[in-house]
């Protein structure tokens, strides 16, 4: 009988959970309610968990403390979270990590309590919790686990109870969420969680599972290097003018807080005290690790100061005056791919920065022309992670940053970033590209954030959004059957027209959107559309709706042939 989860068992459970999920990604993706090429739940959860495992692995060699590993896992999940299901998963393990923090090993009881704590954290993180989702599955499973842990000390038995209850709850999700019943699927996020729990149990029962992530699409973001990049982007001036370099050494290191250091460490005080040694300061504190980036004239003093709090690792000191010419040569080659327009940063902080999410070169240009600082490449099919949004915000160096997610599946990730950055951030819950574009028109840099939020959301809600894509599998909708490959006309997230002809489906959708008349219709055409098709649609609009002003732009987005904005 297994009565204790030690560091070894814990890492094996997490690894096994990740492997199990990883090998069933497509299965989870297929549970999408709409058969559209959309932000896929399985992919999102998998990338999120992969990021968590990566952080955990960094600690696994040096730590035999379950709490420490769980915290590392939590941190990695948080930074890697993408999509709503990814965000919820990260919150489940954040609560788990907090509950486990002081435990070197876990008993059946403390394990179940930690699961329960995760559920509470996740519910709190979601503004309007919806039952019939991964939340319900996690809650019922954890409740069962807690109950069982009062009867037995056998961790395997408790885990079995958790898994069985998770499966039962999953089967019931269509009863709670009509949209699932209509599409004849169970909740995708819930299914993902069941897979992770299956992995946990397999690890406990000794089933053979090897950890070979294959679905990784993103390189691990090296925290420390990221810090440096952000800091250097902020101080663009010193890069271009060697005479302006006041503090000559770029100094980066990590403080591994000692027991005493951990007790006396206060982030604010640390920041202000170490800040006296130089500029371009960035400090990221995470439990017992403090990552520091500073430009100092006397790096030794900085290290002496930091060493009071614990041991130093990954120390990197570079002479920036010497490096200067080399940096100049390299600089143009390394702009972040997310940047629209890598214009030079003004020395003065600007009052507002705007970050948005879109995919397609045309859309990126349009957003850029409306004053957006960073267009994160992503959207329907690729939801950006917390970390990507965080980096975009940090890189701007504005007093206040407005984030327009333009997708229902990115809103939560964006909202999660609010607590992780020092800059005040306003997330406007725009759900579509047209909403994002429309919101930007009402942005006024001279207004307060509150007033901008109100004006921009009002503007976003005044526009109708439509999009034309294709079905990735057979399905049905209220009007009848959908065959794989059919074209789908979607308005405000609802399928309106279905057909075998792209143009007929597009015209049908436009006709519905224009039923009640409009002032302006904007057509944003994707990269898979021909000029002739664009012309055909434009002629259709001019002929049938002569009183409506029509504007056509190249969006360059994949998978979505047309995006329509009617206002």
């Amino acid at each position: 009988m297994l009565q204790e989860i030690d560091a070894n068992v814990f890492t094996q459970m997490i690894r096994a959970g990740a492997v199990k999920l990883n090998s069933h990604v497509e299965e989870v993706n297929a549970l999408n309610v709409f058969p559209v090429p959309d932000g896929d739940t399985g992919t999102n959860m998998n990338l999120t968990l992969t990021s968590g495992v990566r952080e955990m692995e960094k600690k696994a060699a040096s730590s035999s403390h379950v709490g420490t590993l769980a915290q590392a896992l939590s941190k990695g999940l948080l930074m890697g979270a993408r999509g709503n299901s990814g965000v919820i998963l990260s919150q489940l393990f954040r609560g788990f990590g907090k509950a486990a923090a002081d435990h070197e090993t876990l008993t059946a009881r403390s394990f179940a309590e930690a699961l329960k704590r995760g559920v509470e954290t996740a519910y709190k993180a979601v503004i309007k919790p919806v039952e019939g989702t991964v939340l319900t599955v996690s809650r019922e499973a954890a409740d069962k686990g807690v109950l069982r842990s009062r009867q037995t000390e056998d961790i395997t038995v408790v885990m079995e109870a958790v898994l069985t209850e998770a499966r039962t709850a999953l089967e019931k999700t269509p009863e709670l969420l009509p949209v699932l019943a209509k599409a004849d699927v169970v909740d995708a996020g819930g299914h993902g969680l069941v897979l992770i729990y299956e992995g946990f149990l397999a690890a406990l029962t000794g089933e053979e599972i090897s950890y070979t992530p294959k679905n990784e699409t993103k390189k691990p973001a090296q925290q420390l290097e990221t810090l440096g990049e952000i800091a250097h982007r902020r101080s663009a001036q010193s890069r271009f003018d060697p005479a302006a370099i006041e503090h000559g050494y770029c100094t980066e290191f990590i403080v591994q807080l000692s027991e005493r250091g951990g007790k006396t460490f206060e982030e604010e005080r640390f920041r202000s005290e170490i800040g006296r040694y130089g500029d371009s300061l960035l400090v990221v504190a995470d439990d017992d690790l403090v990552k520091v980036h500073i430009h100092a004239e006397h790096p030794g003093e900085t290290l002496n100061y930091a060493q009071k709090y614990g041991s130093l690792t990954r120390i990197k000191i570079e002479n920036m005056r010497e490096q200067h010419s080399a940096i100049l040569e390299n600089a143009p080659a390394d702009p972040s791919p997310a940047e629209v327009d890598p214009k030079e940063e003004p020395a003065e902080k600007k009052p507002y920065g705007i970050v948005t999410v879109a995919v397609g070169d045309g859309l990126t240009d349009i957003f850029g022309s409306l004053g957006v600082d960073v267009v994160i490449q992503g959207g329907q099919t690729m939801n950006p992670s917390t970390e990507e949004i965080l980096q975009a915000i940090d890189g701007i160096g504005a007093d206040h940053v407005i984030v327009l997610p333009n997708n229902k599946n990115i809103i939560m990730t964006a909202e999660q970033v609010v607590d992780l950055v020092e800059v005040p951030v306003t997330v406007l819950p725009t759900r579509t590209i047209p909403q994002g574009l429309s919101a930007l028109l009402s942005f006024n840099p001279e207004e307060t954030p509150e007033s901008n939020r109100e004006r921009m959301m009002e503007s976003a809600s005044s526009v109708q959004s439509g999009e034309v894509t294709y079905a990735v599998r057979d399905s049905q909708y209220e009007g009848g059957q959908i065959q794989e490959g059919d074209f789908l006309g979607i308005r405000e997230g609802e399928i309106q027209t279905v057909g075998g002809s792209l143009m007929a489906t597009s015209r049908g959708l436009l006709a519905k959107m224009l039923e009640d008349g409009a002032d302006v219709t904007t057509v944003l055409y994707g990269r898979d559309v021909t000029d002739a098709q664009v012309k055909e649609l434009t002629d259709f609009l001019k002929r049938n709706y002569p009183e409506v002003e029509c504007e056509v732009h190249y969006g360059g987005q994949p998978l979505y042939y047309f995006i329509f904005s009617v206002e």
């Binding site: 240009d365 349009i366 022309s369 409306l370 004053g371 574009l437 429309s438 028109l441 009402s442 840099p445 001279e446 002032d519 302006v520 904007t522 009183e547 002003e549 504007e551 732009h553 206002e567």
Partner: protein, 287 residues
């Protein structure tokens, strides 16, 4: 009691018949296009100017009247020895015209009295002020009363304008707070107004002309009260038809509209807003 003579500059864009009827004195600014200099409204008329502008590859430039131009106008008006002069001009934030008039005033202050007023606005938004002041002067009101009319008009007037492109405002350096909107790939129609400091600012941004028109009407209605009657000015460039449509819209939406004046935007203001511009000025009728 001394009579009051009203002097303004050519950027007030007052229709010629009103200028004559009310005996207003105009001091012209100058406009330069393709190496030629013209006196605004004297040696070049608006429609001729817009025709030349359409054919020109260059952007036009403009220049203010010299202090001497004003001194001459002031001396001419004051020669009977019993006239007070009120001199109302283009917003000092757009042009040195007001500054030039102030200098002229100081050059003649030992001889007679000139009151120089910064209208904080442009085109027929100045014109409407000047016309009301001239009517008061013609009715025999004193200088102080005329100044009070001017100040009330400046206070109560509202002006909205739509430019076809922000290019002219930008190149001429008069874009004010609307600069953020230059370069947008979407067809954004900024609804521009002039603030109390006489600086252009975008009051709203909308997509397309239909919405812009609807929004201007909304703004006008928001800022009118039912127990007062109003007079309107419709300002246009090379687009008289658009102005006629605006007159209809105003008739439909502002029930207490007493009078509508069509004013052609002259070459100097036209140089800065560009062809295709249309604007609406509205002010309550003074009790």
């Amino acid at each position: 009691m001394a009579k009051v003579q009203v002097i303004t500059d050519s950027t007030a864009d007052i229709p010629k018949d009103l200028v004559e009827k009310l005996g207003i004195t105009l001091v012209p600014l100058k406009v330069h296009l393709e190496g030629q200099s013209y006196l605004d409204g004297v040696t070049i008329e608006p429609q001729e100017f817009y025709r030349k502008l359409a054919e020109s590859e260059e952007m036009p430039t403009t220049s203010q009247p010299s202090p001497v131009d004003f001194v001459e106008a002031y001396r001419e008006a004051a020669k009977d020895g019993e006239t007070d002069i009120i001199s109302i001009h283009l917003s000092s934030s757009f042009s040195g015209t007001y500054q030039s008039a102030l200098l002229a005033q100081s050059m003649v202050e030992d001889e007679f009295k000139v009151t120089v007023i910064d209208s904080k606005t442009a085109s027929y938004a100045i014109g409407m002020i000047v016309v009301e002041v001239a009517k008061a002067a013609q009715a025999g009101h004193s200088l102080d009363e005329c100044v009070a009319v001017a100040n009330r008009m400046i206070e109560e007037e509202q002006v909205y304008f739509l430019v076809d492109t922000l290019e002219y405002l930008q190149k001429g350096g008069r874009i004010g707070k609307a600069s953020a909107m230059v370069g947008s790939l979407l067809n954004i129609k900024p609804i521009l107004s002039i603030d109390r400091e006489g600086v252009i600012f975008p009051i709203d941004k909308v997509r397309g002309k239909n919405k812009a028109n609807t929004r201007i009407i909304e703004l006008l209605k928001q800022n009118t009260v039912s127990d007062r009657s109003y007079r309107a000015g419709i300002l246009y460039t090379d687009n008289r038809e658009e102005a006629e449509k605006w007159a209809e819209r105003l008739q439909e939406n502002i029930p207490s509209l007493e009078e509508t004046v069509f004013a052609e935007i002259g070459p100097v203001i036209g140089s800065h807003v560009g062809p295709g511009t249309v604007a609406v000025v509205l002010a309550p009728v003074q009790e």
